[in-house]
């Protein structure tokens, strides 16, 4: 296990370094510069490039950047928030995106697992219709349409919740965005849970448990739920990263100061340092999530042995 972890961490660090290098080179080919302003003369643009060290050779810039980054300094923003340290931007915005992403994932997963299990367990028509309707709508309709629906009926008509993110009431401000983002999570998780639970229910060990006289509740929790969760965990990792990176429209709609909007604004403005820092954080996040996922597998399914030699 320890050896496996060391190997994975080493590979992860190499991948991150490679990602950073490729990104750094790609950003040099982007048209325009961070100082896109028709009112600035060529001399003034050149002076700004010099001040930010962008006049140096790319390879020098890259190793300087990596050196600073290892010391925890991601540099400063060039254009979207001039001279603001990127760590300040991340520290202010990342927690909000994380909160909303995790909350959506947890609510969506709990609802999805429940819906999937109930549909697999109670095989009546009404439950199946409800399940089909819910999963189809959840997958087919994008989250911003749910957000618009909630905004209109709950925020505007009923005036129950704020329409925009308010720092004075962060809890109630996040209810509608979380609900809107949870729908697709619920639908995806429900589909996986149902199909896996149906397979598990047909398995020999469940039949044996039934024959042994175990109660339905006990079989559901100990055998069906636990075994159905393995593929769900795999899906959850992808969904989490998707929620953290893809909630841009929801963030814009509810004016949430998260990092979804930060990345697109930075790309549009050629703010290289912000793009690099965010890409690095996202890549690191994805790699860490996948590593945790492998470890969770071990806990959920003791048959999985990471990096172990075949006996």
């Amino acid at each position: 296990m320890g050896r496996y972890l060391r190997k994975r961490i080493l590979i992860s660090v190499s991948i991150l370094f490679l990602i950073l290098l490729i990104l750094f080179l790609l950003l040099q080919f982007m048209p325009g510069s961070p100082f896109n302003d028709a009112k600035l003369s060529e001399e003034q643009v050149e002076a700004l490039r010099k001040q930010y060290g962008l006049d140096q050779p790319v390879i020098v810039q890259f190793f300087k950047y990596v050196g600073n980054m290892l010391r925890g300094d991601f540099g400063v923003s060039y254009s979207i928030s001039p001279n603001t340290p990127i760590t300040t931007l991340l520290v202010n915005r990342f927690p909000i995106t994380l909160k909303i992403g995790f909350a959506s994932l947890i609510f969506g997963t709990v609802a999805g697992v429940t819906l999937g299990l109930v549909t697999a367990f109670f095989r009546n028509r009404f439950v199946k219709i409800l399940y089909s309707l819910f999963t189809m709508l959840g997958i087919a309709i994008p989250s911003y349409l749910f957000a618009m629906f909630f905004s209109w009926f709950i925020g505007y008509k009923a005036e129950l919740l704020p329409l925009l993110y308010d720092f004075r009431s962060p809890f109630v401000s996040t209810v509608m965005p979380v609900a809107a983002l949870s729908f697709s999570v619920t639908a995806v998780i429900a589909r996986f849970t149902k199909s896996e639970a149906e397979d598990v229910m047909k398995s020999d060990y469940v039949m044996l448990a039934r024959c042994s006289g175990l109660g339905s509740g006990s079989i559901m929790v100990k055998y069906i739920l636990r075994n159905s969760l393995i593929p769900v965990i795999t899906v959850m990792a992808g969904l989490l990263v998707g929620l953290l990176t893809g909630s841009l429209v929801i963030e814009k709609m509810f004016s949430i100061p998260g990092i979804g909007g930060l990345l697109t604004t930075a790309i549009e403005s050629n703010d290289y340092s912000v793009v690099l820092a965010l890409s690095f954080v996202y890549s690191a996040l994805y790699i860490v999530v996948m590593l945790i996922l492998d470890l969770v597998y071990c806990v959920v399914d003791p048959r999985v042995r990471l990096g172990g030699k075949p006996e």
Partner: protein, 541 residues
Amino acid sequence: MKRIKRYLCFCMLFVFLASMLGGCGDNSTDNKLTELNIGIGSSPVTIDPQLISDTGSAQVAVFFTSTLYAYNERRELVPELAESCDVSDDGLTVTYHLKKGLRWSNGDPLTSDDFAFAFKRLIDPATKSNSVYLITDCCRILNAYEINTGEMSVSELGVYAPDDLTFVVKLELPCPYLNSLFTMTNFSPCPREFCNSCGSSYATSPDTVLSCGPYILDRYEPLATQIHLVRNPDYFNADQIELPGVTLQVAADPQQAMMCYSSDQLDIISVSGELAELAQGDDHMSEFSVAAVLTLEINHLSNTALKNRNIRLAIAKSIDRESITRNVSRFGYYPMTRVIPPDYYTETDGTDFARDQTLYDEYMQYEPEKAAEYWAKGLNELGVSSIHLDYVVNNAQTKYAEAIKAQLETNLNGLELEIIPLPAKEWISRLSGRDYDLIQSSWVADYADPTALFQGSLGDGSTNHYFDRDFLDMYDKSFLTYGEERNLLLHKMEDKLMTDVAMIPLFGAEYNYLIADGVTGFQVNPTGTEPVITGLRKELK
């Protein structure tokens, strides 16, 4: 034991979820009732006055900064922190006498040295400001250009503070519109010691910025979506400020902004496009003219055909601006056939410089038959039967380009236009690099003077390669003349641009705001880029 474990697990999960969602209760208080909630389109890029280069940031900074001169609710230019100003006979030395008793929001005295420090900070290459052109080009303060290029040190900038109440600006060339230029937030004072003590974190949070304006920053973080300000009791004109506080809320989604306005969550919102059309006829809708002009820039060097005046005239007279504003933009733009918009610049006798918007209809008005005549004449002079032109356009304005292309190709036989839609950053590169035949551009004036809108046609520094000696001479002379003589000169300059068809004005912009019942005193400055906030009031419903 198992039950206790389950119970504990449940409790931990609940605490985890609650903490993830912030857990803080709603502590909005009743005092919000008299505060004003204004919807803004985007987060401010920065609130550091010397770094500001976009209107969104200036619209926020105007609440907590103050300048030597300012526009009042009647759009008149009046002294703000200055008591008066003297201009030397040669126009090269301008002396500002500050009001007595000015204070920063921490109680420190505000002196002329704070202005000198702010101006030097703006030009200092270490500040990395995108707005240095204001000091090197728009007004040529002594040694500014040399400091910007690193040939001189910052301390040699032509600004001086001989005593606490006197601020002197030395110029290389007289600047008749200097007081209008100095209303920009970039020229607001900066507290030297406080700024130095904050270092690079200056103006990144409420604790690292001092106010000398009507309000104090109470809540802010970089790229914030919600900014809260409270009344500044140390503002020199604090008695006139009635609102206890203001919240500036980013509402980037127009529909969400409209719902917020309709449900009283926002008191003032800006509306455009379809929402503005929906709100048309609403008593709460207010229109404000803006010094923003959409133009069709002609590259006078790239294509031989465009050097021909008849070809340029034919293009100018083939565009039916009325039909485009009626059917394509539908709201927020009006047809324009001259460079200077109405209600922007007032002449010495009090009349509007651009009161007659039909003045150049002879060259710019839509007349397809005459356009065809000019076109045929131009083709004949060039000895060709068809012309191909690249028409570069910002992605966001493609719909106007499509309409213009259809009209031009219909009215001008043998013209082939290739629309090249580009993302904003690439479009700006093409404009600055003069890499186009035709480009759809927009000019927003920084200050209230016609020369601000002539900047794109100034010879070597132009974005359109228009190089006319007479025009450049007149431009230089406009810095040396004052009063009626200068106004005549400015008219001649516009005459020159229009008769030469140096560029083709298309549309003028206007901002539309929905203002809730009980809110009064909202105004914008003549360029339309910053609100005038001193008269804002919101009465309890």
